[in-house]
């Protein structure tokens, strides 16, 4: 790797040098409407540091070629770098073996890959599913980890069940034993909710799934960017992340799965590179992970994702998590001090991530978002691809502020000031 690592920001948390980190992100010096950009839409997508962009560009300008199938030098170099990227990301996740890692185009493809594996499986296989079988999710899933399972159940006649939510934005585990039972084939749930910020108790859910022999899929789209993840320690069977939320470009996601499961899964997308022997009348398939990477893979995006993992580790995920916890506490404390504003989701920093949804009485989230944008503050408004959560809490949509490693306390203060300005403009404060 020729990528320059970020400036050394190691040291005690109190010395976390957010300005040094910010300097690596070109877009953060942009102005929006004549004001400095305050980007608090990281749960939707993150920006990318020079180091990641340079690593990708260096690869494309010096070593690019299609991978896997060639003997010429560029093809070898590209293959080496693509597979090295797989190893880097595998190590980032604590995977035992790089072959347990499948590159997809985003997290969404990964859930679909697993869901279609169940749908495509031959009768008798561990993945076969049909009437009488169940799939369990939670009421706080992102649509991407909900709709594929709905579609699977519709195609196969299996039943979808879900773990409901408590009033304070947590999973209501009262009926866990009934919801996850001997008929449950898979329990798919989110690690950290993108709308509520809730961090779920993986251990409790995995323990119950193991008791009944259900497979577990953990949606790590909002955890992997922000904290140390160790898939072995988590004890799940599948883990999914998406590159664009963790400093990498759009166009890449990761499915990690236990080797023995990936090996047992039927193919999902058919095409080049995922095959062994092809005749016109039938084909056999390669072993994982190739079996699940049909066609030309997301080559330079994988190189960039590995550079992003390197960057995050150089800054230090523990330090990032500590920095974000400070920012999140500042948001929660700030909102608590404002009349007519309330948090939707856990309102303390215990077991939660950096995404904070809130409602301002009397102002529609769309108007909140637009008014904040006029102040240069980028937040997300809408249902955040979790419409059932909005319905659960009786709001049409929420306003969500979500910070990341490059956000500063001053930016949080700008947000809080912005909320007051919005209230004044709309005459609700």
């Amino acid at each position: 790797m020729t990528a320059v690592l970020p400036r050394d920001t190691r040291g005690s948390v109190s010395t976390y040098d957010v300005e040094a980190v910010r300097a690596d992100f070109p877009i953060l010096s942009r102005q929006v409407g004549g004001r400095p950009l305050v980007y608090l839409d990281n749960a939707s997508s993150s920006h990318k540091p020079r180091q990641v962009l340079d690593a990708e560009r260096d690869f494309v300008e010096q070593h690019y070629s299609n991978v896997h199938r060639g003997v010429h030098t560029l093809s070898q170099e590209a293959t080496d770098r693509y597979e090295a990227a797989r190893s880097t990301v595998a190590a980032f996740l604590g995977a035992r073996d790089a072959h347990e890692l499948v590159f997809t185009k985003n997290a969404t493809e990964a859930y679909n890959l697993v869901a279609y594996s169940f749908g495509n499986a031959a009768a008798g296989s561990r993945f076969a599913i049909g009437p009488g079988d169940e799939v369990c999710v939670t009421e706080m899933e992102h649509h991407s980890n909900l709709v594929p399972w709905q579609m699977l159940c519709e195609r196969t006649g299996a039943t979808l069940r879900w773990i409901p939510l408590t009033d304070d934005g947590r999973l209501d585990l009262t009926d866990l034993d009934a919801l996850v039972n001997e008929r449950t084939k898979v329990l798919a749930f989110v690690h950290v909710s993108n709308i509520l910020g809730t961090k779920n108790p993986v251990d409790v859910l995995v323990a119950r799934a193991r008791e009944v022999g259900a497979l577990t899929l953990l949606d790590g789209a909002q955890s992997a960017p922000h904290e140390v993840v160790d898939v072995q320690a988590l004890g799940v069977d599948f883990f999914v992340l998406t590159g664009h939320k963790m400093l990498a470009p759009s166009g890449i996601g990761v499915l990690w799965g236990r080797k023995e499961l990936l090996d047992a899964m039927p193919p999902f997308l058919g095409g080049g590179s995922m095959i062994e022997v092809v005749t016109m009348s039938g084909s056999t398939y390669a072993a994982a992970p190739e079996r699940f990477e049909a066609g030309t893979p997301v080559i330079s995006q994988a190189v960039a994702l590995a550079a992003a993992c390197d960057y995050l580790q150089a800054v230090g995920l523990d330090r990032i998590a500590a920095h974000e916890a400070q920012l999140t506490a500042r948001v929660l404390d700030g909102i608590r001090g404002l009349d007519g504003v309330r948090v939707i989701g856990p309102d303390t920093i215990e077991m939660r991530g950096a995404a904070v949804s809130f409602a301002i009485d009397g102002v529609h989230p769309h108007d909140v978002g637009q008014s904040l944008d006029e102040l240069g503050i980028a937040v997300r408004v809408g249902h955040h691809c979790a419409a059932p959560v909005c319905r659960r809490y009786g709001v049409p949509a929420t306003t969500r502020a979500s910070s990341y490693l490059y956000n500063s306390e001053a930016e949080i203060d700008a947000l809080l000031d912005g909320v007051v300005t919005v209230q004044r403009f709309w005459g609700t404060a």
Binding site: H364, P365, H366, D367, Q370, S371, E374, V381, G382, H383, A387, C390, V395, P396, A397, F425, G427
Partner: protein
């Protein structure tokens, strides 16, 4: 984007509240943001006699529905439909169109909204509901007796 005209209509919407008599009632939802409107139309002798509505949503969707009622009530259905086409065209113009105040009256305040694709749907919610209801009213009155 938040012109005074828009804020006025949002704070003091015109023709709001569901009224009788009506021919058709529709319910439209914008799934991305949960905005919704229930809208009634009464058409008689080819004229839009009344439009009444109730709903909730952002300032843009509420103000735009209010402006719409001003523009269509009392007009010939044909003419009202042309006005609605003009508004649709404006909203799809991505800020590139100079709106005609003679046709769109207060509706011209929404020209700026057309630069925000995420908000265009808000601005169109009430208009689409009205178009839908009116088409049904016209169809049922030409096909038989109206309620």
């Amino acid at each position: 984007m938040y012109q005074e005209i828009i804020l006025d209509h949002y704070r003091r919407p015109h023709h709001k509240g569901l009224r009788d008599p009506y021919d058709v009632e529709v319910h439209h939802v914008n799934p991305t943001c949960g905005d919704e409107v229930t809208l009634r139309v009464r058409v008689a002798d080819g004229v839009v006699e009344d439009v009444s509505y109730d709903g909730q949503g952002c300032s843009i969707s509420q103000a735009s529905t209010s402006v719409m009622t001003d523009l269509v009530i009392g007009k010939q259905v044909d003419e009202a439909l042309r006005t609605s086409e003009a508004f649709l065209e404006l909203m799809q113009s991505r800020g590139q169109l100079e709106p005609d105040e003679d046709v769109l009256e207060d509706g011209i305040a929404f020209a700026g909204v057309s630069r925000y694709p995420a908000r265009v749907k808000c601005a169109l919610l009430g208009w689409m509901a009205w178009k839908d209801a009116t088409a049904q009213a016209v169809a049922s009155s030409s096909g038989g007796a109206a309620t």
